[in-house]
Amino acid sequence: MWKNAGIALLLLVLLMMATGCQLTQPAFTRTVGNAGSAFAAAETTLSYAHEGKITYAYASSSFVNYQSELEGLDQSLPSLQGAPSKQTVQHLLDLYKPAIQAVDAPCLNQSCNWRAQVASLNRASKAFLEAGGS
């Protein structure tokens, strides 16, 4: 009985490996989807910080993690498997630049233009999520 169960499980694994492309998304779709989600989180964090829903310390700590998640994306994006046209990739990269600047140096006081940063994060988030199929 155990032998049969083992064979059945092995076949299941092989089937999963063989049909991996259908089970999961191409690397490009997955990566831009994750980036879109990270930009959305950064946008919400910045908004919440200025609306008084979280402290600046909390936001500052969160942005360290967003940086780790998003850094280097401009280098890897064009070469990812499943990448669409060059124009689409370039459009995403154009939106990535101001958004990553906001992630790297978020405006966490009243003396800088945090609304502009929220807007660029929002644009990047929407474009990346759309490219990721969300």
Partner: protein, 407 residues
């Protein structure tokens, strides 16, 4: 009455063993990505872990032996090395993740990068494990773990799940190409919850508290209440992720993102309550993992052990505590995100789960240990079901980790 305070053993086991960095991560991500569609996996894991904890508590109370003792006695030293080595590999990763989780929680309070706070977190864990008596290790994280009840308050303030979210409970919203992510989260939830270290810790804790035949009812209540408490926290996080993060397209891929779900209903207090809960659960888990591994090694090799003994009275047990912490610190210093480490640890635990759980079926039916309290038919069927789940999860966990890149 004092004996019934021992129920904290269940709550601390749940605070560290059920709820930890891995469970917090997988619950939040599950809710953010698939709505309520993975609550069934948390419930399944809860039932499995209640059964296992009740059985190991019953075994220890009646036989006055720990799980590690029983494996070595029944299956020999060579077999015992299998769960031991697999446990050391998986739990070193997990300990690094838990210390990272503590560092992130401290970082959310202070705004200082968690990378700088990692050594502080490791030092805190070492001091507590080295100097604190078992009662403090039990009661401290258990009391702090009550903060997780604030997740329920958050859900209530938000008005509960909106009506359009409810169908995801029985019909998960799995988009094209997301099936592997869904299955990976199922495996990760089961792997993060049904952790062998939890059994070694609970079994050794029962010995530290000198449980006997009189403790059987206490054990049953502890297993059910403690694990249900952990499950409640996990499901609450999942629901918060589904209500708040999903509509914002936030997938909860970093631990701090889940705090936003608490900040929406409760403001900065909510975010801090989340950070406090993360601190408590990761601290409880770190202590539990360290002690679980050290108990396992000391008991397997027949050394003196016990958290209530002075370090000099159980020198090798305490030396192992320090060494396992140093290994985890070395892993953590590579700078890998604790959440990714926690998911990897869950996969590795899932991979080795059958090795740690198979002995259950044999020892729980041995009247030499349990007298007339051996497993009945229902308990045996249940443990076979848990083993089948463990085998399936073990087989699919690694391919899914590779396919999805860890969620």
């Amino acid at each position: 009455m004092k004996k019934w305070f021992s129920i904290t053993l269940g709550i601390v086991t749940a605070t560290g063993g059920f709820l930890d960095a891995g469970t917090v991560a997988t619950s939040g991500e599950a809710g953010a990505k698939f709505g309520l569609g993975l609550i069934w996996a948390v419930l399944l894991a809860t039932v499995a872990v209640i059964l296992l904890v009740e059985m190991i508590g019953r075994f220890t109370a009646l036989s006055q032996k720990t799980y590690a003792d029983a494996i070595r006695e029944n299956f020999g030293f060579k077999f015992y090395l299998l769960p031991l080595i697999s446990g050391i590999i998986a739990e070193s990763l997990l300990l690094a993740a838990e210390i990272g989780g503590i560092a992130i929680a401290l970082s959310l309070f202070t705004g200082i990068s968690w990378h700088y706070l990692f050594p502080v977190a490791a030092l805190l864990v070492w001091i507590l494990s080295w100097r604190a008596p078992f009662s403090l290790i039990e009661n401290g994280p258990a009391l702090l773990g009550l903060i997780t009840l604030s997740f329920l308050v958050g859900i209530v303030v938000l008005g509960g799940p909106p009506r359009e979210l409810l169908p995801t409970l029985w019909k998960p919203d799995i988009k094209q190409g997301e099936l592997a992510d869904y299955l990976f989260l199922v495996a990760a939830i089961l792997g993060a919850t049904i952790s062998p270290y939890l059994l070694y810790f609970y079994s050794s804790g029962a010995r530290e508290e000198k449980w006997s035949r009189d403790s059987l009812l206490l054990n049953r209540v502890t297993a059910i209440v403690g694990m249900s408490f952990g499950s409640l926290g996990s499901i609450s996080l999942l629901v918060l992720g589904a209500i708040v993060l999903r509509p914002l397209n936030i997938s909860s891929s970093t631990l701090g993102e889940l705090g936003l779900a608490m900040a929406k209903p409760l403001g900065p207090l909510g975010a801090y309550l989340f950070a406090g809960a993360l601190f408590a659960t990761c601290l409880g888990a770190a202590l539990e993992v360290m002690l679980g591994v050290s108990y396992n090694i000391a008991q397997g090799f027949g050394w003196e052990w016990g958290e209530n003994k002075k370090p000099v009275e159980a020198a090798r047990f305490n030396l192992v505590l320090t060494i396992i912490l140093l290994v985890a610190v070395a892993i953590g210093l590579f700078g890998t995100d604790p959440l990714q480490l926690a998911l990897l640890a869950s996969t590795v635990i899932a991979l080795f789960l059958p090795i740690s759980l198979t002995p259950f079926l044999f020892i729980m039916n041995d009247p030499d240990y349990l007298g007339d309290h051996t497993n009945g038919r229902f308990a045996n069927i249940a443990i076979i079901c848990v083993l089948i789940i463990a085998f399936i999860v073990a087989v699919i966990a690694l391919p899914l980790e590779i396919l999805t890149g860890g969620g």
